[in-house]
């Protein structure tokens, strides 16, 4: 049992991030990819790394206005992420619907379906803004661990 506090101090150093595209136009996804994969922005300095499986994730980045068609799939993937997880809504679409607001095929804002913790508005937000959002998410995540 003594190992658990040690494990917590080690594990809270590097949250893995996972992104869900809930019907995004790919603008925010490109910015999210840029944030992590290009040495200029390099989010790995904060210990973050994209992972391929939702079961390894700690921080979820959701982009897109949550279209009706993708909603069930997005919920299934979201529920596979183990607790404690932190949800970051990237772009104005998941936060309020942006220009797609009040459309018949869009379920935005997503905080009706997902427990959102941090919002990063922008269309798309610049990579530094996403880094700022992830930094806020890491703080929340450390509190929850």
């Amino acid at each position: 049992m003594n190992m658990i506090p040690d494990f917590k101090s080690i594990a809270t150093k590097s949250p893995w991030i996972y992104r869900i595209n809930a019907g995004s136009c790919n603008g925010c996804d490109v910015e999210m990819a840029t944030t992590a994969l290009i040495p200029r922005y390099d989010i790995e300095r904060l210990g973050c790394q994209y992972c391929g499986s939702p079961r390894h994730a700690d921080i979820v980045l959701i982009s897109g206005p949550l279209t009706t068609k993708v909603m069930q799939a997005a919920l299934v993937v979201f529920n596979e992420i183990p607790d404690p997880k932190v949800t970051v809504a990237v772009g104005v679409c998941p936060i309020s619907g942006g220009i797609f607001r009040e459309s018949y095929s869009v379920k935005a804002p997503i905080d009706q379906y997902f427990p959102v913790d941090v919002n990063v508005p922008g269309c798309p937000p610049r990579p530094q803004a996403i880094i700022e959002g992830v930094a806020k998410a890491i703080e929340i995540w450390r509190e929850r661990m």
Binding site: S96, V116, A129
Partner: protein, 165 residues
């Protein structure tokens, strides 16, 4: 660039990585960021509300006057409002620090009030909006201040009187 060149560059210039979360990030001069509203120079034409593609801008009439609200969580930073504003009352700043926690979601608003008052000429309630630039060409500052305080009807009368003078 071969390895040695890259190595020499990194030794002299430092790494390419932006030091952002630990130091301020470079921002372009014409960066389209957070909206800022100045009720002093607003004409109250509501053009920005009409051209906003995301419906982020809203004007409401209250007892205080005409209230302006722009929700940053819906704004797509297209710059339409700034482009169409006849008096440059609304403009975009370079500020992009908009990431916030969920509790602050509905307080991310640029707010401004154009106060209402009584028209000094007819006594009816009027908005204290800025004078349209094309109508007050050649006016002295005292005349502009006088014109500004009037209600729309009295403004027309004022212009006609001034022409006939």
């Amino acid at each position: 660039m071969n390895f040695l060149q890259l190595f020499a560059h990194n030794l002299t210039q430092g790494p390419f990585t932006d030091p952002f979360p630990f130091q301020p990030a470079p921002t372009a001069k014409r960066f389209r960021g957070k909206i800022e509203f100045d009720p002093e120079t607003c004409e109250g034409c509501r053009k920005c509300e009409k051209v906003c593609p995301a419906g982020a801008i809203r004007f409401t009439k209250t007892d205080k006057g005409l209230e302006f609200d722009c929700w940053h969580d819906s704004c797509v930073f297209c710059g339409n409002c700034e482009f169409h504003c006849p008096t440059n009352a609304i403009h975009q700043t370079q500020d992009w620090h908009l990431a916030h926690v969920q509790q602050d979601k509905y307080s991310m608003v640029a707010h401004g009030v154009i106060p209402s008052h009584e028209c000094p000429s007819c006594g009816k309630p009027a908005l204290f909006t800025a004078a349209p630039a094309n109508k007050v060409k050649g006016f002295s500052e005292a005349e502009i201040a006088e014109f500004r305080a009037l209600c729309p009807k009295c403004r027309g009368k004022y212009l006609r009187d001034r022409k006939s003078r």
